[in-house]
Symmetry: C3
Subunit: 277 residues, 3 copies
């Protein structure tokens, strides 16, 4: 049912610079229940883009925190059943409060616990955006996939088609990150060609993409497709800048925070590589 | 009851260079029960200043570890009830052994769990130094405060007055960090004007301030006011140096460890900006 | 029973460049159940050397993950009884699947919980390589040792003798890291003289040594002595390179990932400083 006109209109509504400005003005709180590997990284990326991170996972406080947040990011890396229960508590509170929820299904497909937990969250919480790699999203969409730990091994097929199919199956925005990212609401599918291969050489950049999706969703509550696209543009442009100032994954990682912090609305709009199809 | 002479005498007793030298000679063990976001950061800051960090939270080992430590740092970010119970076990063992305890009340005021947990710790453990932001300290002192997650939003009123009031209410040293830090024992209040705004752009620098307070407390067991002031001088001077060698929060973060490591007793004494009232 | 000829033959079988090439070609999954302080660091080091890290500790998924891994790394820093139970579950699954297991006994000797837990793991899991500092290894070998938190305080005696004795006592490869590392199977003992003192100024480089041991073990399943030596060569050479591009522990830490990523098979072979005796 996608018309070219619809997709064109969606692409036109992307205005990452405007959102970036509103993030920095309103400094939304982005509540993150995320994995141990990347907590510091996603906190610093959230700060660098201009929002305020908070990590909290205790069942006694997650609903209270999520309710006052601008967005809630759930990330199932290093999960346990107790953490998943807290994610669902937080997610339901966010739903009641109208706070958009981003889900990062880290490692879905690699163990039954991961797959079951992501499905459980999706069945209990109304998720605005799922941000994952090709294998994770394919698994959630009921397709076969090749994942090694948390890494997608070879992306067979078109990411745009995958994003669209998964969005229809799950009823939310799907953002599949890869060499060229694809974002779809099941009707309109957009591609983001910003980024640098070095993003794949640093642990947690996918999780950072999800955290930044939360930042952009916080200032675009009614436009999750736009938020997901803009977040990937922002991270992609920052990745391009970081690659210019680094000599390997360690210095790239450091330069990425500098680049996110230095992003200006004009830069990001001028360099966005968003296309339909 | 503060006389100008008392405050002057306190300011004069600050000799961060001397303490730094003793930290590097004796390499005190600083036992930290801290949040997941900053564990690596506070460990590396502790090493960089010259002390030895150890992170341990299991109820079976915290008393044993705290007893042989030079200082114990309790930080309630990403808390759960089980971790708070371990903090109290460790804190009581530290009290028995005469090991100074630093409390970082991360996010107090943002959820009931955080506020209740900090109060519980303060009621069960004799704390030498509380290091927090304005909103956290105001909440502990029974005042209203504006906190968003773990970030103090706007510091109404004078930080020196706040530190003094809170010190009297809680019966320990209060170190409030902000653009200009204030440290008080409820009688004498000192200000530390070292630092750089970039410290607020990196996640965990407040927690690093608390960890370094532990390092200085370890070599000044009977002078916690002095220890708290000196720790903020050390971090502030390092922050000033780091700002000279960085282009954003990522490179500042890296340069901060280099700067802490490079601090010399003479530098730190010559550049300390400590004042009374 | 060690003959000079045996030791010479063992030293000759070390070919870190060949292993490095195979790591980058096969990209083995290295399942790590490790401490909160270093998770991001060991993940990034694993990626930088060319393997794929995954962190997973839930009892419901560790056996499934370990079974498909190329190696399993167990690290008892920030342990609790629940995590140790997961380590044993994972270790047994790895044993059944023929996946080599590396154990890092962080802080053994500093508390009873640490010592007991390491011994419990060694009694329940067939471990290929134990990688620790002098105090940790001495404690496991039943000798007295001086440890402060997780830091070995003064290495009395010869590390080669210690490694050999411990290897005989524990029945596995022992890699003791220090100014000059010693690796032994209880019969043949090799020394690795690569490295830089700055490695001791950054938190988690010992844990990184263990993670990289897992990477090399994954491509040398039947030669754990060789794997342990090569891993220390790789990290040591990277440390030497990082020291050339840094001005303190913060920039060294960053440069270490760049250096691991930049290692070439020829470089590593040409600069390996492995000796018998």
């Amino acid at each position: 049912m996608t018309s070219e006109a619809d997709a064109h209109a969606a692409a036109m509504s992307v205005a990452a610079g405007d959102s970036l400005q509103r993030i920095r003005q309103s400094r939304p709180l982005v509540h993150q229940i995320t994995n141990f590997v990347v907590m510091n990284e996603t906190a610093n990326a959230t700060l660098a883009i201009g929002a305020l991170p908070v990590m909290a996972h205790a069942p006694e406080e997650v609903a209270e925190m999520a309710t006052v947040a601008g967005a809630l990011v759930l990330n199932i890396g290093t999960l346990t059943r107790e953490w998943v229960a807290s994610m669902i508590l937080a997610g339901r509170a966010a739903n009641v409060a109208g706070v958009p929820v981003v889900l990062d299904p880290v490692g879905v497909g690699s163990t039954m616990l991961r797959t079951d937990s992501a499905r459980l969250i999706l069945s209990q919480v109304s998720v605005a955006i799922v941000r994952g790699n090709a294998a994770e999203v394919a698994t959630l969409a009921g397709q076969s996939a090749d994942i090694r730990g948390v890494e997608s091994m070879g992306t067979t097929g078109d990411l745009g088609t995958l994003a669209c199919t998964a969005a229809r199956a799950l009823g939310c925005i799907i953002a599949v990150t890869g060499p060229v990212d694809a974002v779809s609401d099941g009707h309109t599918t957009l591609r983001v060609a910003n980024g640098n291969p070095m993003l794949a050489a640093v642990s947690g950049t996918g999780c950072i993409a999800s955290a930044i999706s939360g930042c952009f969703a916080a200032v675009n509550r009614m436009q999750p497709l736009r938020a997901a696209v803009e977040a990937l543009v922002a991270l992609g442009v920052a990745g391009e800048d970081a690659a210019e100032h680094s000599t390997g994954p360690g210095s790239f990682h450091v330069a990425l925070y500098d680049a996110l912090y230095a992003l200006s609305p004009d830069t990001i709009d001028g360099r966005a590589r968003v296309s339909t199809a």
